[in-house]
Symmetry: C2
Subunit: 293 residues, 2 copies
């Protein structure tokens, strides 16, 4: 497991470096500082790493994949900034440091989120070395998976479930939108860096993203109960404290863990439909399921 | 003047109808309702009308122009929703009805804004009947003019100026980003619906948008002092109440009005560089400068 996490770290470094370049701006302002503050926050960069990896497997353009992945990471970062705002989850800490609105004020955090979301599409449009058709498909995929029928739709369900007791099925639907949508599009954008990527590759990428995403979210819920708050960079027990229904509160830890393992297996099976060498994607799926933070 | 305002109304109706279709969603939710509530709010639809008009002048694809214009209108609508939030301008009323966050709650308004911003790019990517290259250029233009170096950058300056006394030059810079950027890109996207639009047409479109935008904003400041709050759909005197520097507070009403007229003339001169029939664009510039609401 050490090898794969080292590999992911190296890839994540490339992503961070490129993000730094893309977010560098002449017009320095408190909001461009806030954008960089949150984008530099780190995290595992798992989404752009998937974009790079699917690009490699599909024999795509890796430099385009780096930018496609950075665009997804900008969307992910904006969603965390807006999610932490007082009118949403009201979280003061993120990845072990003050949330964007604590560090820069609510108004600047709101605008930093808006600007990152907008910048993601600027980055896609600026990619060179790919047919314009592929870029248009990437814009369509990213906006659809990130919008009201994707990630934002998942946030909507999350808000709706706040004072209700959703069923396991409803929770999985919410996870599928809130978490999986962005993982799916990370994988899909990797495929789209190959000039003539097959529909079957795109569909396998979606299936992989969906299943590692569900497993990821279930492991997240488990870690909220048995995790190490220092490693996680956030307090544990927040779901219980907020009386929030999760798959763990419905199924218990053991059955939830079993489900996460099944989903991971499904993700790995989907890789059989790709032609390239997928052993790293397999190890990433296993790493995410076995993580302790 | 009646003829042109009738013409604009007819075009605005086409835009509203198309927006309705584009914002129709299977997954009904409070946030998709909030998106439609704010998008239906009306307003003059001046941005998409400009897109249609520049498309016509450049002999472009009018059906593509309708969607390009709707995308700009979605960006404009999201910016109003986020701008009205308590952490920004904290405005309870917008276009004569309760602001989005008053009607739907802050959390849903935040997400509705995010979803509209994202949807704009989905709409661009779905346009048919144009070379993919033109769509990629449209995505690049919209994201750049709407983002941290455009409209959002203008919001940042607006926040920075809140407790300072900006110079006339600084205020104009803020207007150029906050207001003109989106008018410029409305015009530019119209040009981009023509397969081989010239760089000179795009540059003329920018110059027109910049100058009508500055004039528009100065007239807005004048109307905040001498306007009719019922016609405007918002209370007047808010700039004075908030002790906000405007070009009117620096120059006085008469000189501000002169400046608005000069800028309108500049906008009209820029039209000489276009080959098509530009008399409607000329009348729109005059209408905006002479408006009372």
């Amino acid at each position: 497991m050490t090898d794969i996490s080292e590999y992911v770290k190296v890839q994540a470094c490339k992503v961070s470096e490129r993000l730094n370049v893309l977010l560098n701006t002449d017009a320095a302002s408190v909001v461009s500082d806030a954008m960089r503050y949150s984008a530099e926050g780190g995290g595992k960069r798992i989404r752009p790493v998937l974009t790079l990896e699917f690009s490699r497997v599909c024999d795509g353009n890796l430099s385009a994949a780096l930018d496609f992945g950075c665009a997804v990471e900008m969307i992910h970062t904006y969603s965390l900034i807006h999610d932490d705002l007082p009118c949403m989850d009201d979280d003061d800490m993120r990845r072990g440091k003050p949330s964007c609105h604590i560090a820069f004020g609510e108004d600047n955090a709101l605008l930093a989120g808006d600007a990152l979301l907008t910048k993601a599409f600027s980055v896609l449009s600026g990619v060179t070395g790919l047919p314009a058709e592929n870029i248009v498909r990437a814009v369509g995929a990213l906006s659809d998976f990130a919008g009201i029928d994707g990630m934002v739709g998942g946030q909507v369900l999350d808000l709706q479930f706040e004072n209700t007791s959703p069923t396991a099925e409803e929770i999985l639907k919410m996870y599928s939108l809130k978490t999986c949508a962005l993982l799916k599009v990370s994988a899909v954008l990797g495929c789209l860096t190959a000039e003539n990527c097959s529909d079957d590759a795109v569909s396998a990428a979606c299936e992989y993203g969906e299943n590692i995403g569900l497993a990821f979210q279930i492991v997240d819920d488990i870690l909220d109960i048995i995790g190490d708050s220092e490693k996680l960079g956030k307090p544990i027990g927040s779901d219980t404290k907020n009386d929030k229904s999760t798959l763990v509160s419905i199924y218990g830890i053991n059955k939830a863990k079993e489900l996460a393992d099944e989903l991971t297996e499904k993700a790995i099976s989907a890789l059989d439909r790709l032609n390239g060498d997928t052993h790293i994607l397999k190890e990433i799926a296993l790493m995410l399921a076995d993580r302790t933070f």
